[in-house]
């Protein structure tokens, strides 16, 4: 028995998300009185793999195969399931990101393992095995009991703090033998998002809505985001209008994020918008309408005109940073 956690790498590098996953997995392993195995697939340097060992891993498996050079969900599922069986893992943990959402349900069927998706806390209990998950677009939570012998969990990003605990985990190199014919996906074109901080990875997000009035008013918002080391986001009408790129739209039909701080400027706080941001640890709202629903979700608020408040906020942040 073990807890096995799968983490992607991005061009051979891990992210904070990877370490959150390992921290979470090792706490689940502690609850079950067992060990934590980390699985990485693809080419990653030893020094990078060793970083996974800082968060409670007992064993790190570095799996490689030519068949895994293209991201084919079915092939990846087979590779991960093979390692799960060989390791005798009873709980499999993935991130609740694009990759995890693609792989976890397939693994669930392949391993006949009940799934708990989008968990943000440790299991409520392990016998019976009960987890908490988001439901109704963040308007409620569901407690789900998983009765199967094996379980699959996906962990929401930025919901679990890193726990340092280096057990000097050994790194095992594993050549995964797979039939190349199993890969059905052919990549015709690929575009990497480079440079800019990814919205899902950001710990601070500064977001603008229709109350920003015009695409030409984004200067101070971007300046504020730069000062805070934040990513920028927007409401749906703003991306629909083409004021901002589509990848920035948060909400039920956009990105679902959980940063430490979400600054909502000129956003009314419609339920569909809140569905994507209500798990933020803190929300700051700036809005001319004191009755805007966003203030019900926010901990801090300013009733005022974005055009006037934003420059002041930029100055105040600069001031506080210079101290």
């Amino acid at each position: 028995m073990s807890v096995l956690v799968y983490t992607e790498n991005w061009d051979g590098k891990f992210k904070k998300l990877s370490f959150e996953l390992v921290s979470y997995a090792s706490k689940v392993a502690e609850m079950l009185n067992t060990t934590t195995t980390v699985l990485s697939l693809g080419t990653v340097e030893k020094s990078e793999l060793e970083k996974l060992g800082n968060y409670g891993a007992d064993k790190i498996i570095n799996g490689t195969s030519d068949a895994l050079k293209v991201y084919d969900v079915q092939a990846y599922t087979q590779a991960i399931a093979g390692v799960v069986e060989a390791d005798g893992a009873s709980v499999v943990i993935l991130a609740n990101n694009n990759a995890g959402k693609a792989l976890a349900p397939r693994l669930s069927v392949k391993l006949k393992a009940g799934i708990g998706s989008g968990v943000s806390k440790l299991p409520v209990s392990t016998a019976p095995f009960v987890v908490y998950k988001r439901a109704f677009s963040g308007n409620a939570y569901a407690k789900v009991q998983i009765n199967s012998e094996k379980k699959v969990l996906t962990l929401a990003q930025n919901s679990f703090d890193l726990v340092e605990n280096n057990k000097g985990a050994a790194i095992e190199n594993l050549n995964i033998s797979m039939d190349a014919g199993m890969v059905k996906t052919e990549v015709v074109d690929a575009q990497k998002q480079t440079g800019k901080l990814l919205l899902n990875d950001a710990e601070i997000v500064v977001s603008g809505g229709r109350g920003m009035k015009s695409p030409d008013n984004w200067g101070p918002l971007e300046e504020l985001a730069d000062l805070l080391g934040a990513a920028t986001a927007c409401s749906r009408p703003v991306s629909d209008e083409g004021w901002r790129p589509h990848g920035e739209h948060t909400g039920q039909t956009g990105k679902i994020i959980a940063p430490n701080l979400y600054v909502a400027i000129g956003i009314s706080g419609a339920t569909q918008h809140l569905a994507g941001v209500s798990s933020s640890k803190y929300i700051v709202a700036i809005n001319t309408d004191k009755d805007a629903p966003i203030f019900e979700a926010a901990q801090y608020g300013i009733v005022g005109d974005a055009q006037k408040v934003l420059p002041k906020l930029v100055d105040a942040v600069k001031e506080s940073k210079s101290k």
């Binding site: 992607e8 084919d72 969900v73 079915q74 599922t77 609740n96 694009n98 959402k101 693609a102 349900p105 397939r106 693994l107 669930s108 069927v109 009940g114 799934i115 998706s117 989008g118 009960v130 439901a135 109704f136 677009s137 308007n139 409620a140 939570y141 569901a142 407690k143 789900v144 009991q145 998983i146 199967s148 059905k184 996906t185 052919e186 990549v187 015709v188 074109d189 998002q193 990814l198 601070i204 589509h246 039920q252 956009g254 701080l261 569905a275 700051v284 019900e296 979700a297 926010a298 901990q299 801090y300 608020g301 300013i302 009733v303 006037k308 002041k312 906020l313 105040a316 001031e319 506080s320």
Partner: protein, 249 residues
């Protein structure tokens, strides 16, 4: 090519959810039920593809696993333009059950291209599409934001963590769709509504499935503390609270 669009029936997104039966069941009183927004967009895209005869799409079918109470939602899909509909007559308890039923539907009628949404807005599982693909041992492509047919194969835009890819893949295939798949959902025209009345909803009985998970209960999120307001003239105080009280900047 035969296309299947899987639709879930969900409370309208503005619904204020409440629970009954010791918080084990959704209080359905006064709830407006709608086609899950993603599924409406999938259906729209499937019909757009079918409109272009060169894509060689014979039919677009919708399938739903649920009780007869969901028939208005299924009728709506027919009115939008689906050719026919299949309902698996069961009250599903989890995604695994739903996917197992849909797999039988696909096997029975040999669909080539199956579209599922990235998540239902009620249980937020993001599970059915991937599970269905694994039950069928079909390839799946997730986070699909664009779909075309070229030379009998699917040409797909997908989002991956940290980028985008265009992939080519042969059918049979499960595509799990998200934002971008279609611009606006297609709206039922009068003619479609009239035609939908005469279309049959084929009802099939469920197969037995092992129960892997059960719902213990629902809980409402903890109420947030009331918002603390700062004067628009004194934003420095807000900055100081974010630094010293919330400790987030």
């Amino acid at each position: 090519m035969k296309v299947l669009v899987c639709i879930s029936n969900v409370p309208d997104t503005t619904t204020k959810v409440k629970f009954v039966d010791d918080n084990k069941k959704l209080d359905t009183n006064g709830i407006q039920w709608v086609i899950n927004p993603w599924d409406e967009l999938s259906l729209t895209r499937a019909l757009e593809l079918k409109d272009d005869a060169s894509n060689g799409i014979q039919s677009v079918t919708v399938a739903h696993v649920g009780l007869a109470t969901a028939e208005p939602t299924i009728r709506k899909a027919l009115a939008i333009g689906a050719d026919d509909a299949i309902r698996v007559n069961a009250d599903p308890n989890d995604a695994y059950f739903v996917a197992a039923q849909l797999a039988e539907v696909v096997k029975a009628e040999a669909f080539d291209l199956i579209l599922c949404g990235i998540e239902s807005s009620d249980y937020n599982g993001s599970n059915v599409g991937g599970m269905l693909a694994e039950f069928l041992a079909y390839p799946s492509v997730s986070a699909v934001s664009g779909l075309e047919i070229k030379d009998g194969k699917a040409l797909i835009n997908r989002e991956i963590d940290g980028g985008k890819e265009v992939v080519r893949i042969a059918t049979p295939l499960v595509a799990i769709v998200q934002k971008g798949i279609a611009k606006e959902p297609r709206i039922a025209a009068m003619r479609g509504i009239m035609m939908a009345r005469s279309k049959q909803i084929k009802v099939v009985e469920p197969v037995g499935v092992d129960v892997l998970t059960e719902l213990v209960n629902f809980e409402m999120p903890e109420a947030r503390a009331a918002c603390k307001f700062f004067d628009a003239e004194n934003v420095a105080e807000l900055v100081s609270s974010l630094q010293n009280e919330a400790k987030v900047i």
